[in-house]
């Protein structure tokens, strides 16, 4: 008798409060996972970067010594410089993607198939992209190699040449990145108002003005997304460097993420703390951009309510 009444009591308690409690119950598994594998490790990396640690033995606290060493490390500056080059050149993917999107934004037979085939490079793994381009640059018989030989008359092994290797890798990376930006713009162009364009045309808007004042403002969401993915892509770049040159020749194509990996897990012994300090620097650089992106998203959210 009494157990039955507590049961109804607890059930009605649940019924009254379920709207308050349900969101927390639903959030728990996802939040725990995310905290455990993403949020906590970020802080752990900061903490580890103040230690000297080979990944197995005792950790030894060394304060800022890793950073002091870093700021005196030639390889670190090479990586940093390369990341800046990556970032700047990667941004070219945005106008290039826009160009292809505008080119393909027509209604003719089979255009859908063309659009998806142009998108192809983004679907395949960067490992495959890296292998493809390594083959194209291959000295002696690679297609790009031969073209360059025809044009300049000199034999250049792009990936083995300190002057060009980084650019060769970025060029390979641009291929899928342009495809990505293209698809963002293609979807954006679907939403462009044709009547506005016609009206602008009647007002004799054309050429660059048309693009800048009429089309681009309507594509703002697509441009924002393209910026976000391109900046992140450039700063995270690792796969292509690892596949195409393994950081070489003489470490000239290292980027921060690759250098971190190399230091933390290199064949010459693990330097986890030093690797973590490289990761922290990369994180801080990225933070500048992330803050900007989130700032804008928060602004949009506020407007949305």
């Amino acid at each position: 008798m009494s157990s039955a009444s507590t049961e109804t009591h607890s059930r009605s308690w649940w019924r009254e409060n379920q709207q308050k409690l349900t969101p927390y119950i639903f959030l728990i598994p996802g939040v725990i996972f995310f905290l455990f594998y993403v949020i906590v490790p970020i802080f752990e990396s900061f903490w580890l970067s103040t230690y000297d640690w080979d990944g197995l033995g005792e950790k030894e606290f060394i304060g800022m010594a890793n950073y002091a060493e870093l700021f005196d490390d030639e390889a670190f500056y090479t990586s940093l410089k390369n990341n800046v080059i990556w970032l700047v050149l990667y941004l070219l993917a945005i106008p290039a993607g826009l160009g292809i999107a505008i080119f393909l934004n027509q209604k003719v037979r089979g255009i859908r198939a063309y659009k998806s085939l142009f998108f192809f490079p983004f679907v395949i793994s960067q490992v495959v992209v890296g292998l493809i381009f390594a083959w194209f640059y291959a000295p002696g018989f690679g297609l790009f190699y031969m073209i360059i030989e025809k044009i300049t008359g000199s034999e250049i092994a792009i990936l083995a040449d300190e002057r060009f290797a980084t650019y060769g890798i970025i060029f390979a990376g641009l291929w899928p990145q342009i495809a990505y930006c293209m698809i963002l713009y293609l979807t954006g162009l679907n939403a462009v108002d044709p009547e506005q364009i016609e009206a602008a045309r009647l007002d004799a808007a054309k050429g660059f003005k048309m693009l800048w004042y009429i089309i681009l403002p309507q594509l703002r969401p697509a441009t924002f997304l393209a910026m976000v993915v391109t900046v992140i892509g450039a700063l995270r770049s690792f796969d292509l460097v690892s596949i195409m040159t393994d950081g070489g020749p003489y470490g000239s194509t290292r980027v921060l993420s690759f250098y971190m990996y190399e230091q933390a897990l290199s064949e010459y012994g693990y330097r986890m703390g030093y690797g973590a300090s490289v990761a922290v620097i990369l994180f801080l650089i990225m933070m500048v951009f992330i803050t900007g992106f989130i700032w804008k998203m928060v602004g949009d959210e506020r407007k949305g309510f």
Binding site: Q18, Q19, K20, T22, P23, Y24, F26, L27, G30, F33, F34, F36, Y37, V38, V40, P41, E44, G55, F103, Q106, K107, V108, I111, Y114, S116, L117, P121, V123, I124, S125, Q126, V127, L131, I132, W135, A138, F141, L143, W175, L184, A191, R201, M210, L211, I215, A222, L225, V228, I232, L235, R236, D239, I243, L256, S257, Y261, L265, G275, A276, I290
Partner: protein, 281 residues
């Protein structure tokens, strides 16, 4: 610099556009075409310096060779063992979090949401040392399970963002009406919201499949042996063994690229909806 619709142009322009399209496409995909052609070239062609011509015969034996003389079959299997559980796990978690963040107003909602968004933008290299260490301590280093757990957690960030925005766009009246009828919150999730989320689930399923299949960084950080390595990491080590045997490298590359490509062509519409975050419709 914004062309008029082609149907309003002169016949000559229309024709030249039709001609330019395939040419542009061939130029764009030239690297890929080159690899595809090389993958069916007999080794003798390459030895004789026939790098760019057509193959003298269709040497499908390269593919047979790759399968019999390398562990690529095992690598592919490993990739599936990582990718499919990750897709399922991520979808389950993010349907739950997306529902919680998309439907309910409660303190801290926006902060939890931005934790997921920010975590998703983080350069994942900063996670490498701690995650690797943690995986070792859990006894999951060099197992596909270890890789799956990390991927599920990390991808949940992106998927929560997507699911939450999708659910927010659903008509709220549906939920209010169900509540008036006395339907419990759990039932609302299961019978009202979940069926409406099918397009979002499909979009994320293809997208996550491709992302995880193509992952290389975590594959090299968390797995080391051919019993556990996915095909991306496997291809890297095979490339080291197959020096100058470009017909094999090409065949291997094509095999590794095939599953996500097939996925993309089968579920194109969903894929693109996923990539654009549903933000630009």
């Amino acid at each position: 610099m914004f062309p008029r619709p082609i149907e309003h142009q002169s016949r000559a322009i229309q024709i030249s556009y039709q001609v330019m399209l395939p040419l542009a496409l061939i130029l764009w995909l030239l690297p890929l075409i080159g690899v595809a052609v090389t993958s069916v070239k007999p080794a003798s062609d390459l030895a004789a310096g026939n790098y760019f011509g057509l193959p003298s015969e269709l040497a499908l034996s390269n593919y047979a060779d790759v399968f019999t003389n390398s562990p690529i079959g095992q690598y592919i299997w490993n990739s599936f063992k990582v990718t499919i559980p990750t897709v399922i796990g991520t979808l389950v978690l993010s349907c739950l979090t997306g529902f919680a963040l998309g439907i309910y107003r409660f303190r801290g909602n926006i902060w939890v949401f931005f934790m997921f968004v920010a975590g998703n933008f983080v350069p994942f290299q900063i996670l490498m040392v701690p995650v690797r260490d943690m995986t070792v301590n859990l006894g999951l280093y060099n197992t596909t399970t270890g890789l799956v757990l990390f991927h599920v957690a990390f991808q949940t960030g992106f998927c929560t963002l997507f699911m939450r925005n999708f659910i927010r766009a659903l008509p709220r009246e549906l939920i209010e009406a169900a509540r008036v009828e006395g339907v419990s919150e759990f039932q609302i999730f299961w019978y009202v919201v979940l069926p409406l989320m099918k397009p979002a689930i499909a979009a994320l399923a293809v997208l996550i499949f491709t992302f995880i299949w193509n992952d290389y960084f975590w594959a090299t950080v968390l797995t080391t042996s051919k019993e556990t390595q996915p095909v991306t990491a496997g291809l890297y080590s095979l490339n080291g063994q197959w020096i100058a045997q470009w017909q094999l490298v090409s065949a291997g590359a094509i095999i590794a690229a095939l599953p996500p490509v097939a996925m993309f062509f089968l579920m194109q519409k969903h894929f693109i909806a996923g990539l654009t975050l549903g933000a630009v419709k």
